[in-house]
């Protein structure tokens, strides 16, 4: 990683740990170093939960790093810094303030007198294309307009660096594209008072479309696994073969099996303490059907699959990985290929599907097998969920334990391997055949 002395923002060996109730702390960011130079747009690309948003908040001074340090313009960050301004995924506008008041809030905190404040806010509103909306309240605006307010609010304080936390992911496809284009126009014309942009995203095409460099993050723990310079000329065309090739390459990179890890290791943790993603059995069946059908015939290119289905990688990857984990498919080099079991599943009737799913669930998901074994061993075939939750929480955070337990419950119910009573919180063998 280039962390030259000229770097505007320098992140030096940052680690981030979250304390857990028991056991060792959860490592979210592991030894992350990066530099942001003048006049560039850098994307942090990774899946949800890879710690990229945490990194952005550490850079913004909103939370301290457990280890390592961040400096901006040579000064170490300790608390919110003036040189950066952030745009939020959820817009984070004050619903009771007008557009103008929302934009002015940062200037107000700086104690800038009202005439100057007004002038600067109006200029920012003008720049971002919100003329005429000064006195509107956020609830009267569309999502795209709201994010423009968020952008104006960040620009008006004249930051050196604009931090953007998935700024387009809450917008619909068309609105997001318009806003991206407008932002790139302003950037290339040099009309924004900023030196560089750090963009957090989970959208591969967005990263390729907008940035000069892409830093690809791995998950669990988050670390930079690749740095990809994007040299395609602006404005970029998504249909350009070189663009497509780059998107394909990043997909392949993000689905590559990390060296030294077994196929088992798609999810963090081992054995029953593996963190399972929240994926419904319907989605699993749906993806298998789609991949089995024309035009893929059992072998699909992930970017090609994501496009028409409008799936972000955060939606698609967990499903694909769960299929791989249960041996219904293989995932490699950005391709998803159904196994024999996967093909058989698609051709079966609903009951047959459930039986096949149950076999794979008990064979390949250790937690499901564990729950079933406990229920079989007990005379009454009942076991409280808290028993398993406690076991999980020895190895993972409360939130992950909850998610894992919900996933395995939903899979077990579909497979009719075991039942679960929400009211009493008890697993049982009551209704399975």
């Amino acid at each position: 990683m280039n962390t030259a002395a000229s770097a505007l923002v320098e992140v030096d060996r940052v680690r981030q740990l979250y304390p857990k109730g028991s056991g060792e702390d959860l490592l979210v960011l592991d030894d992350v170093s990066l530099g942001l130079r003048n006049n560039e747009i850098v994307s942090l690309l990774g899946r949800s939960g890879c710690g990229k948003s945490s990194l952005l908040r550490i850079i913004a001074g909103l939370m301290p790093a457990s280890e390592g340090k961040v400096s901006i313009g040579g000064r170490t960050v300790a608390g919110p810094a003036h040189e950066v301004a952030m745009v939020f995924q959820t817009f984070a506008l004050f619903p009771w303030l007008t557009v103008l008041e929302n934009v002015e809030i940062g200037l107000e905190a700086l104690r800038i007198d009202s005439a100057e404040r007004h002038k600067r806010a109006l200029a920012a509103i003008d720049l971002i294309g919100l003329d005429g909306y000064e006195s509107a309240y956020p609830k009267e605006l569309s999502g795209g307009m709201r994010q423009r307010v968020g952008l104006a609010r960040a620009l008006v304080v004249h930051p050196k660096v604009l931090l953007m936390d998935e700024p387009f992911s809450a917008l619909d496809v068309l609105t997001a594209e318009t806003l991206r284009t407008d932002l790139l126009d302003l950037w290339s014309e040099g009309r924004m008072p900023i030196s560089s942009i750090l963009l957090v995203t989970h959208n591969i095409e967005e990263a390729v479309l907008m940035s000069d460099r892409i830093l690809v993050f791995s998950s669990n723990p988050g670390r930079v696994v690749a740095e990809i310079p994007v040299t395609l000329p602006m404005p970029r065309n998504r249909l350009n073969p070189a663009f497509r090739q780059m998107v394909d390459d990043i997909y392949a990179l993000m689905t590559a099996k990390p060296a030294g890890k077994q196929a088992q290791g798609v999810f963090p943790g081992t054995g029953i303490s593996m963190v399972l993603p929240r994926v419904s059995p319907n989605l699993l069946a749906g993806l298998m059907e789609t991949v089995a059908a024309e035009p893929y015939k059992g072998h699909a290119d992930l970017p090609a699959l994501a496009g028409p289905l409008h799936l972000e990688i955060d939606d698609l990857f967990p499903v694909a990985e769960t299929l791989q984990f249960m041996r219904f498919a293989e995932l490699a080099e950005g391709d998803l290929r159904l196994t024999d079991a996967g093909r058989r599943f698609v051709d079966l009737d609903p009951d047959g599907r459930k039986r096949l799913f149950a076999q794979h669930l008990l064979a390949y998901v250790p937690l499901a097998a564990h729950i079933r074994r406990v229920l079989d061993e007990r005379g009454a075939h009942h076991a409280p969920a808290s028993r398993f939750r406690d076991e999980l929480e020895d190895h993972m955070s409360e939130q992950f334990a909850d998610q894992t337990l919900r996933s395995v419950t939903s899979w077990g119910r579909y497979a009719e391997s075991f039942a679960y009573d929400e009211a009493t919180g008890v697993f049982s063998l009551d209704n399975p055949s």
Binding site: L62, F88, T90, I105, Y137
Partner: protein, 585 residues
Amino acid sequence: MAIFRKGRPVAEPLGLGGEGVLPNLYDLAIFILVAGVFVLIAHGAHEMTAPAARLVAEPITLDPANLPEYALRTTLRMFAAIIVSLLFTFVVATFAAKSRTAELVIVPALDILQSVPVLGFLTFTVVFFLGLFPGSEFGAECAAIFAIFTSQAWNMAFSFYQSLRTVPRDLDEVSRHFQLSPWLRFWRLEAPFAAPGLIWNTMMSMSGGWFFVVASEAITVGDTTVKLPGIGSWLAVAIDAKDIHAVILAVLVMAAVILAYDQLLFRPIVAWADKFRFEQTAALQRPRSWVYDLWRRGKVVRRVSPAIGWIAARISRLPLGFARAARSARPAPNSRTSRLRNRLWLLAVLAVVAYALWRIALFTRASLSAEDLLAAIGFGLLTLSRVVVLIALASVIWVPIGVWIGLRPWAATRVQPVAQFLAAFPANVLFPMAVVVIVREHLNPDIWLSPLMVLGTQWYILFNVIAGASAFPTDLREVSTLFRLRSWQWWREVILPGILPYYVTGALTATGGSWNASIVAEVASWGDTKLRAAGLGSYIADASAAGDYPRVVLGIGVMSVMVVACNRLIWRPLYRLAERRFRLD
């Protein structure tokens, strides 16, 4: 009160969201603390009785010409109390939200204090404040205001605390990111975010407060009788004089005052506060107020508003907040020192609890025996059975009516304000009329005084059920129509689960109010005829009148335990069930 709400209750009733059903050790400790404070005040009050007796207040006359002034005095007392409650809310709730150690004591204390029947406590406070300002009416005024305050402040503080704790994460980050000073942060983020919940709770508090203002104006403690100029005292004099016309006049004036306060003050505030609702979508139905519309359209006012806005903006930008407190990301507290601090804090709390226990033991051992405790519990069970039967009766009557009204928007918009008006109307103003009937017909007071306890509180059930039925989703109603659900099945499986959270909120408020009302409802008089129903309310009322402080404390203690037990054993589990199983969003 008169706010027609389509949504869920803004804030869940105090304490209902809590986890456990059974009281934990912490509750017990807080309870002992509260009781200890009572005992100390009672002790202090006892010492101060003598100077208080010298007070000669200006006599109340039943001259209708005086009634407007009395009404004004009553209203002013009410506003003084609400201002004190707001100040208390801002200080205490902010403190609880910002300091973990303070939170540990304040939140359970609010929970218990809200269950304490403050009316029974009136005697101490009157004597205490009279002692503070010997020989002047000011002491009595303070006591009355304090009584109203104690009926209002807790749920307001709790609502504000809850809002402060649930400030949306992204807005919190924005405020920290742009380094808003604590003062600016309060005005731009915390106060606006908390406004809808706080305003709703202030309205509920005020509608409960009318009851207390009436009850606290004319007070007899031992041989001290205080009558502050106001509607409550007018009523007391009218009862002594057996003047039914004066009673009717008081009812009419009270109704006019409440109507005016609702139309002129609260509706405009609610309409204005609509913009603080934390929603990103524009609502279809907004609260309206003709006063607010007038205000916004008026020519003069249009000049005045920006000036007020300018002043408000200046205040919010005052360089307070101790420079720009660079509250950076809160550094992870050093676990070792924080553990030590927690231990010390716990130790301090325990020491105070032990002291409180000792004071209570000292106080009660001198004048109370085990028989007294048993007697109080016996009376408590009598009152409990009254409350249970009456709330059940009120539910059986008002739930079907409320559902019927709530499912018909045209009826709901008309009835809802009336129900909320009735909930605010102080039922104790109506008591004399009921007493007249009981005396004339020679009815059994043990039975016929009881309905007075729910006279004013049943409306909470009605208007909450109406709100719940109005919010019931149309598609679910259509499904049940399509499947031709039979009526009993429709009630059991569709509408009752649908309105349960609302019903629990209403029934909880009604029950708490009824316990309080029992202190004035179980003892009634008309001229020199005295009626009393055996129960804990009359036990406390008698002990107060006789200046028997130990028995007042005992009665209040027993009643508080019963109220808390009711909340924990019935309402809290029901509310949690409703939250978990019957959530409609």
